[in-house]
């Protein structure tokens, strides 16, 4: 429990650093930092309940973060990627890349293979998570516009 608390805190600090690197200013830094912490909390919760399925945890955390950043972007009238990119930083599988590399150096080819599959799965999970939410919000917005249009036409009649 204590390690998770430290990790969440460190995720906040790291994401704040990335926000500075991406030239994000003002109160938005705090929002992205908190979002980064949230993404790690989601990841750990799913990780716990799915008995250590990294890909599923990545996917679910991405879904939540992507939805959150779509909502924040609509409220604050900013592009979605401003929130999405920094908030997803804790999910980037840097450690798996490292361990793949080190097993490559140690010439342990079966480990390399399993890490490569894991990495590809995690990257695909994050990408699909974002795509699903983007498509979903676009569909909701378009259909709500459509419904409004129909209502207006009816009211006109």
């Amino acid at each position: 429990m204590q390690t998770i608390f430290i990790q969440v805190l460190m995720a906040f600090l790291g994401v704040v650093g990335f926000s500075v690197m991406y030239n994000i200013h003002g109160y938005k830094i705090i929002i992205t930092g908190l979002g980064g912490s949230l993404s790690w909390i989601c990841y750990r919760i799913i990780f716990h309940f799915s008995e250590g399925n990294k890909i599923l945890s990545c996917f679910t955390a991405t879904l939540i973060i992507a939805l959150l950043s779509e909502i924040l972007a609509r409220i604050l009238k900013t592009p979605v990627i401003l929130f999405l990119v920094p908030m997803l930083v804790p999910l980037v599988p840097g450690s798996d890349l490292y361990y793949m590399m080190s097993s490559l150096v140690l010439q342990n080819s079966s480990l390399v293979k399993s890490y490569a599959i894991l990495l590809a799965g995690e990257a695909a999970a994050i990408a699909f998570g974002i795509i699903i939410i983007t498509t979903l919000t676009q569909t909701v917005i378009r259909s709500s516009q459509f419904i409004r249009k129909i209502r207006r036409i009816r009211a006109g009649e």
Binding site: M10, L13, G17, P79, I81, V85, V89, V92, L97
Partner: protein, 259 residues
């Protein structure tokens, strides 16, 4: 009459150039290709061009418009390097929203664009210090101890100085990544030998997170799923090559010390 058309066409050419400036700024600041295409198309419609054809990949934009008088104008831009700058994207987004509601004249538009290109940035020192402030916490995040974090901070500072110098010297990005990871790896070993930091892997992971093209990898997959195949392939290729360069850099160090 003839002169009138000539003035009009000149204005249209300037307008297309201004629109491309906006698109270029978006791409350079790290916006997705789909956003660039979408923005340009909206702006073209707002300026009442009969037809707007925009094609963009990560390294180039082609814009062809057909003006109301039937004249066809094509201009292209080549984008060589990108530097993520979210603040700029925010400003351009706001500008394009304004323009779609009420299109401005060419001169006003050009002035707005120069205003945006001078948006506030963090001072160079803050940017330099951002790197160690990322690598330190992330080392702890991936399971390092506090002393590892200290080593990670120092090597992160090394890394940021090398990257800043490399950008200044306009070094090829792959070579820069290779060099960065190699030098950082050496720095970490030196620090461990000096007694700062214990676990080599955790310190390196904290620094890898600074270099890792995770975002561009997922973006490229997203582009491909959405249907921007060329952009997706380019991004994927670049991300894989970068990951390879990082692996070679750190891997060389690991082989050297016999890990």
């Amino acid at each position: 009459m003839n002169q009138q058309t000539k003035a009009n066409s000149n204005e249209n050419t300037l307008l297309v150039a201004a629109l491309l400036d906006i698109g270029e700024m978006l791409l350079v600041s790290g916006a997705e290709v789909s956003r660039v295409e979408d923005t340009m198309e909206r702006l073209g419609k707002a300026y009442r061009f009969n037809r707007v054809d925009i094609f963009s990949i990560t390294s180039s934009i082609v814009l062809t418009v057909q003006a109301e008088n039937g004249e066809v104008i094509t201009q292209t831009r080549r984008i060589r390097s990108t530097q993520v700058d979210m603040e700029k994207i925010v400003h351009i987004n706001a500008l394009s929203r304004d323009l779609c509601l009420s299109p401005k004249g060419v001169e006003d538009l050009q002035k707005c664009i120069t205003d945006i290109s001078g948006t506030k940035k963090y001072p160079a020192l803050v940017k330099l210090l951002a790197y160690p402030l990322i690598s330190g916490p992330l080392t702890v995040f991936f399971g390092g101890s506090l002393i590892d974090a200290a080593a990670s901070l120092i090597s992160g500072l090394f890394l940021s100085i090398i990257i800043a110098l490399g950008y200044k010297m306009k070094m090829q990005s792959l070579v820069l990544y290779l060099l960065c990871s190699f030098v950082t790896g050496l720095a970490v070993i030196l620090l461990i030998n000096l007694g700062i930091g214990a676990s080599f892997d955790k310190i390196i992971i904290g620094n890898i997170m600074l270099l890792i093209p995770g975002i561009s990898l997922t973006t490229s997959l997203r582009d491909m799923i959405r249907g921007d195949l060329i952009t997706g392939l380019l991004g994927l290729c670049e991300a894989l090559l970068k990951a390879f360069a990082i692996a070679v850099g750190f891997g060389t160090v690991m082989i050297m010390i016999g890990l």
